[in-house]
Symmetry: C2
Subunit: 471 residues, 2 copies
């Protein structure tokens, strides 16, 4: 590596001194992940404002042999955007690339730069009478570049897909600083390898995404939301199949909530209210939506629930009768993470298995964990429609919990081994980052790791892009 001071001078020449941050007071917020689990170090934090500037920064870093860590809204959960502690890299913040470059209602697309917040993209879509359906808790501060780099999911994946399915084209600054303009707004394009797929979900290890063509949908104009008490997870899976068979794509959320998760919300979140006479062992939040203003969703859902009650799969249900009730039901689901944070630390897993294997996984994992730690508290909830569960564990008593947390890797082993045996994923929607690199090595086949390393070596032969992440 050449002289770091020379690189900093070069970057200052390119961007101006106010865009090259080195003082700890200025860099601190970029060098720590928002949960405070990772603390990194960097030669500088730079804030380019255009794809040309990003390209120039990457060229300068490449010439100096200095690693680059791209960062968006810094809301990731796996330390993927936090540099390593060695202080050798340049952190490139994309937040100033925050223009909506174009909207096209007839093509149902918009072009957003990487630093647009998810909320800004949702608003731009709304501005032309369309929906951008990605929705997740951090949407006010997470940025599209990060959503792309982690292939973000959320509550509406069962209807609209992940970020990958919502993306038609990309613009990417490659590890040598060249710009790949793949900003095509096409639904059908079979002209060779689909390169955008490489960069989506690559967590910045293959290049820096600077802009994307995103898919839009009609805005929903009617909605119906219900809270269901179900016999058990198997009943939830059966209800999901039946509801899809009559509601089709109108089914826009199907969220499973275990009793401990619901109880934490009722305990810690002001104004949270039990929607049924007693807290069910397993609940499901269902949402139907339709672009037609007069789609008859309430009556469709009511008649479905009536027949499900008769069949015994469903124990009880309440349909939201007003906008306020709908918001109340959704708040029960959306506040689970917050309630858990208030309750204290827990060992979290973001896993997926085939939908058909959710009931078996829950039964086996529960048995294994209770055998190892009698009285363990299992907080399970998530996107049943996608086979994706947040499966979090703690001890009810604080004094026991510290000892339990110290055994995280034993807990992970039990949970992840069962996920693996069920053909599942140890990271359904949060990615790998620094957090799960070791687990990735354990659960991916040698062939798959080899293929991933070949791709990395082909696109980033000098290994300068976001080192120490994923691989």
């Amino acid at each position: 590596m050449s002289d770091p001071q020379a690189l900093l001078a070069r970057l200052t020449h390119l961007l101006g001194s106010e865009r090259v941050l080195t003082a700890e007071s200025e860099t601190q917020a970029y060098l720590t992940d928002w949960r405070g689990r990772y603390r990194g170090s960097a030669l500088a934090v730079v804030r380019p404002g255009s794809v040309e500037e990003v390209s120039a920064v990457v060229q300068a870093c490449a010439a100096a042999g200095v690693p680059i860590v791209p960062q968006g809204g810094n809301t990731g959960l796996c330390g993927g955007a936090t540099p390593l502690a060695d202080g050798r890299s340049i952190l490139v913040s994309l937040s100033r690339l925050n223009r909506i470059r174009a909207t096209d209602a007839d093509n149902n697309t918009l072009v957003a730069e990487a630093g647009c917040t998810l909320a800004a993209v949702q608003q731009a879509a709304e501005g032309i009478g369309r929906l951008f359906p990605l929705s997740l808790a951090a949407e006010g501060s997470c940025e599209i570049g990060g959503n792309l780099s982690t292939n973000a999911g959320g509550v509406h994946v069962l209807r609209y897909g992940n970020m990958r399915e919502l993306t038609l084209g990309l613009e990417v600054v490659l590890p040598d600083g060249r710009v790949w303009d793949g900003l095509r707004g096409l639904r059908k394009d079979n002209t060779g390898y689909d390169l955008k797929q490489l960069f989506i979900g690559a967590e910045g290890t293959l290049g820096i995404i600077t802009a994307a063509v995103l898919k839009l949908y009609p805005q929903p104009r009617s909605r119906s939301v219900a809270w269901l008490a179900v016999r058990d997870p198997q009943a939830a899976v059966e209800l999901l199949g039946r509801l899809r068979a009559c509601a089709g794509e109108r089914l826009s959320a199907f969220e499973l909530v275990g009793r401990s998760a619901l109880e934490l919300v009722l305990q810690h979140i002001p104004n949270a209210r039990l929607p049924l006479p007693a807290a069910p062992e397993w609940s499901v939040l269902v949402e139907l939506s339709d672009p037609h203003a007069d789609a008859g969703l309430d009556s469709l859902l009511t008649s479905f629930l009536e027949s499900a009650l008769e069949s015994g799969l469903l124990l009880d249900a309440t349909l939201a009768g007003s906008l306020a009730q709908r918001a109340e039901l959704w708040a029960l689901r959306e506040n689970i993470s917050e309630a858990q944070k208030i309750e204290g630390f827990s060992i979290k897993h973001d896993i997926s298995v085939p939908v058909s294997r959710i009931p078996g996984f829950l039964a086996e994992a529960g048995r294994a964990l209770r055998a190892a730690w009698p009285g363990v508290r299992i907080v399970a909830f998530g996107h049943l429609g996608d086979g994706n569960l947040h499966y979090n564990l703690s001890r009810p008593a604080a004094e026991d919990n510290d000892a339990f947390i110290a055994r995280t890797s034993e807990v992970n082993r039990i949970v992840h081994d069962l996920v693996d045996a069920a053909g599942g994923s140890i990271s359904a929607e949060h990615g790998i980052g620094q957090l799960k690199r070791g687990e990735l090595q354990r659960y991916k086949s040698g062939v798959e790791l080899d293929l991933m390393r070949s791709i990395k070596a082909a696109v980033d032969p000098r290994g300068l892009m976001n080192p120490g992440k994923i691989l």
Copy 2:
């Protein structure tokens, strides 16, 4: 390369002599594409029956340094599955890998081997009360491996996506014979690079797909089909936007048909009948479908069409009143290719542009072609909902047409330059194969071609997989 006879002996040892074809009478059907435009040659055609046999064949070929050409149902349109004429390669037919390995109604997936016909996959889905939505003219003989390798499209892409979007996992034999087992049936899995995306649409140049996990949907139980006469393509685009805004994902086809296309069908196809009093300059075939048996689609479509008539976008429309009428309307659209074949040779283009740019493209291309060849016949039709047109050109008189056909590259230049200027694709759904290699070099940027070559070199460093295709 080592002795070809030694390789043939090795392959015969692995598969048995009846699975290693060398007699011209036996190999001929594999060595010519079905339209008879490409004629290749090969050391042998081999017919393995399992992934283990495919792996052994590839290992043997790799050891001998002999190129491999994978082939499915041999229904491709670009010569992608026809070997080069040099006779150096082994053609690997996947047709004997034709098992449905598993079905999972609760997970909405099935696992099909590469040699299953598309029709067999559709039937397997139906057998568990589900829909596999990919549908195209060759479905009785095309095979899933080919559909995957060309990222097949068809008439329902606007609702369900291309083959890529219908695929959750793959099993692939790599160029060195190792098997990558990526047969995961997960909607959410963010554990590193999404390797399956590399092989989908790669036309066999990176490995041999041997099996896939495919996504299933609820079966439609109601349908409504109408034939529309629209003012012009711009009116069709506006109607598409309005119809989506009220019908949402129920809109399962939106096909534009120009007058010459309709007239060819009326002229050449027995029992084809004009659905409206006069042949419109531009028609649209619309289909709505819904899993609910009692979805009120006819009344939704009728009231939509009434208001569109009032606004002047729509000139006339007829709604199919019976199953037979629905089939008649669909036959008008589906028989266009057949009618063209009967009429004679034409210069075909399978192109896409953003939906919003379809009207402008049609106007400009029409002007440019008519200026160069007064009286040129333009047969334009296709999947307007995806921005994908089949744009085919001929001279009405046979004697003029031969001279016109001889100028194919001039015609391509006019059409493809306008497609490129509109941000479009020169191959929307048929792929590149041998047919469009030259055009790909012309229209892809140097950066994109470099990236594609790096990927090819990383995954297939010896260049043994399907040489002379795409790159």
